[in-house]
Subunit: 93 residues, 2 copies
């Protein structure tokens, strides 16, 4: 069963895969700005597009393009600027 979730009025949507070692979701963020909260640690990879990210405890914005990835610590919040509709992969745990 593929679980579909929507956030930010449908501007961020994700699809969850089952049967892998760790929980994996793939999703799309529409162009825009967002603040996400992470309960558990996450590894995010950009598949198509670009994410500009201000990670927790960091005052600088970092740009991640196709194939790039970044870690998000658990129990944290982080800011995203998305300059173009962007597809991402997220591995949890």
């Amino acid at each position: 069963m593929i679980t579909h979730n929507e956030y930010f009025n449908g501007n961020v949507q994700s699809l969850a895969l089952q049967g892998h070692d760790k929980p994996v979701t793939i999703g799309v963020m529409a162009k825009g700005e967002y603040e996400f909260g992470a309960d558990a640690p996450e590894l995010m990879q950009v598949v198509v597009g670009e994410l500009n990210v201000k990670l927790p405890g960091n005052s600088d914005w970092q740009s991640f393009k196709e194939g790039a990835e970044f870690h998000v610590p658990g129990d944290s919040k982080f800011q995203l600027q998305v300059p173009v509709d962007t597809a991402y992969l997220c591995f949890y745990g």
Copy 2:
């Protein structure tokens, strides 16, 4: 606006990105077997998982794993065996 579509009773679901040079969708196929029809030519890339594909006019199954891609001609049908929930990218045109 991110468009969410469901096929095969929700066992295949896709999310469409806008603002790129060509139409792009990202999606997930649940473990199973499917026959797809392509109206226009497509380039498919495996992001997570594995697709076993019998392309049009081909009697052999070919395996495509993470990072691999294949072309599908327009106005065609092709068969897929999906051994594990798989995320894919599809570029049209």
